[in-house]
Symmetry: C2
Subunit: 321 residues, 2 copies
């Protein structure tokens, strides 16, 4: 039921995933609504089950309060299914804060991890980078970012198949010793204790692709993804406006449209499906509220990879070393 | 002597400014080098004076240490001229941290202001916004951002000629009550005490142009401008790569080039010249290290407007109200 296009988009993406990956899925939500959507599709029925959850956490509801009040929401019921091991991973395009709150509360934290963090795969000029945290923890201590760095490396290595990934710390300058007291403390903590840490990364260099894992606090990470999104949207709007002023430019734009669409993807994270919520004791994948069926399918695909790689156990081992 | 293209770019911009605005300028730097550059131009000689400063703070030197050690650098000498009222404003494309440190130390703070902040005019889809702080203060207290908001309003109203400017607080969500404890405290402090405060602004909405003044801490502001710069550079690189794959697209790009260049400006802040250093007791304008002559000329133009509007006196009055 979560997200701006629920349940349509979610159900369509789930059906695609079932067909493509042949995995059993449980859809959690208002049964009649989910059922009505499912009826539109042809799919192997034995692979999709519905678990009824009568209430819905709205996208703009205060997270913690809504989780406390709506104990039978699709988010709470989904997380509980995960806790009871009735499923192996939970994917949601719903209220991010509520998913983080419910997951932390019900699943608890991984041993050695104090706070959850959301990682996000972002496209770069080379390939991609994994940015963590993009908004779960707005009041981090230095050790939280250190723990995120350990988890990020495992994730990028095992789930995203990058050999010996590099780690960078988002900072306002490239040199060591730059930034706030907080960032300097994080630097000291990560240096020497996180493999292949290659120092600070400035925001202007994120998209150049030198760093596989980029560590930051939840406020900075959130600013990074939202400014990218806003800038590309504004640049597109400006381009349409500029191009429409000249028939010659309109012709030029028309014949290069397919190339321009590639560029838009640089800031369109929804294409990448889900953002893993790391640190909680269970596999939780958060999708963008505006997820398309393709994004939902990709989030499910990423969750499957997490399950196959037994990522929780690997993280636990890495953190306890 | 400051900036990546000094003294060439600075001298060329100064000569243009003298010709266009007929104001007397003092160039501070290694006399022989500045003189050699000046000789290349034809200009009203009585309007340009050189004050010798034998040392130079390099762009990547630690700010405070370099200011303490190089007491006769162009930055220190320039700020001292301002302190001694031998000039009305100081413009520098040099090491930002060093300019902030020297200005704070030599000029002192405006009464009622505790920390300096750098404001920056950024282009938006509508017109422009004034983002403050973009990197002077990485350890702010809530009252520092409140003081910046007061100064920003005066600046945007008086220097940039916006009637009753709106003020927004950069946050990770649009609703009141979002964000870190720090941001929530700033919100409470600004609300009701800063005129025309219209609430939180998400990073994705900065370029939409709804807010005339956008308040944030120095780390967030720095991330905003650097991510914009990096993203536009990467998008340009990606566009060149994509377009080069297809002759038809190359033709399309060629005939719409002038329109595309407009879009690049959306993130090219150097076009706008200088970034005022607010809060110190003197008019200081910081230019980008990669400033073109045009950017230097525009920074000088902005400084002239500050002088004409007697902006320090107006700010003092506003803050003491």
């Amino acid at each position: 039921m979560g997200g701006d296009y629920a349940p349509q988009s979610i159900v369509a993406g789930a059906v695609d995933a079932v067909k493509e990956f042949s995995v059993p899925l449980t859809l959690v939500g208002i049964e009649s609504e989910v059922q009505a959507e499912l009826k539109k599709f042809d799919y192997p029925q034995r692979l999709i089950e519905i678990v009824h959850a009568p209430t819905v956490v709205e996208m703009d509801e205060p997270a913690t309060a809504s989780i406390r009040r709506k104990k039978d929401s699709s988010i709470s019921v989904g997380v509980s299914l995960l806790k009871e091991q009735k499923c192996d991973a939970f994917v949601s395009a719903g209220n991010t804060g509520a998913v983080v709150a419910a997951s932390s509360f019900v699943l608890g934290m991984l041993e050695g991890v104090e706070r959850p963090a959301i990682g996000l795969v972002i496209p770069t000029l080379k390939d991609f980078a994994f940015l963590i945290d993009v908004g779960a923890n707005t009041e981090p201590k230095p050790e939280h970012l250190f723990q995120s760095a350990l988890m990020a490396r495992v994730y990028v290595k095992d789930v995203l198949d990058v050999n010996n990934p590099t780690v960078g710390l988002l900072n306002i300058g490239a040199e060591a010793g730059k930034g706030s007291v907080f960032i300097k403390e994080v630097y000291k903590m990560i240096e020497g204790r996180v493999e292949n840490f290659i120092g600070n990364v400035e925001a202007s260099d994120i998209f150049k692709g030198k760093h596989d894992c980029i560590i930051c606090d939840g406020v900075m990470g959130n600013i990074v993804i939202k400014i990218s999104q806003g800038l590309m949207e504004s640049a597109s709007a400006l381009m349409r406006r500029e191009v429409s002023k000249s028939p010659v430019a309109m012709f030029g734009a028309a014949i290069m449209r397919s190339r321009l669409n590639h560029i838009k993807k640089l800031a369109d994270y929804s294409e990448y499906g889900g953002a893993p919520l790391l640190g909680v004791n269970g596999l939780v994948m958060i999708s963008h509220g505006r997820s398309s069926p393709k994004a939902i399918k990709n989030a499910i695909k990423a969750a499957i990879r997490e399950i196959e790689h037994n990522i929780l156990a690997v993280m636990k081992e890495e953190i306890s070393r």
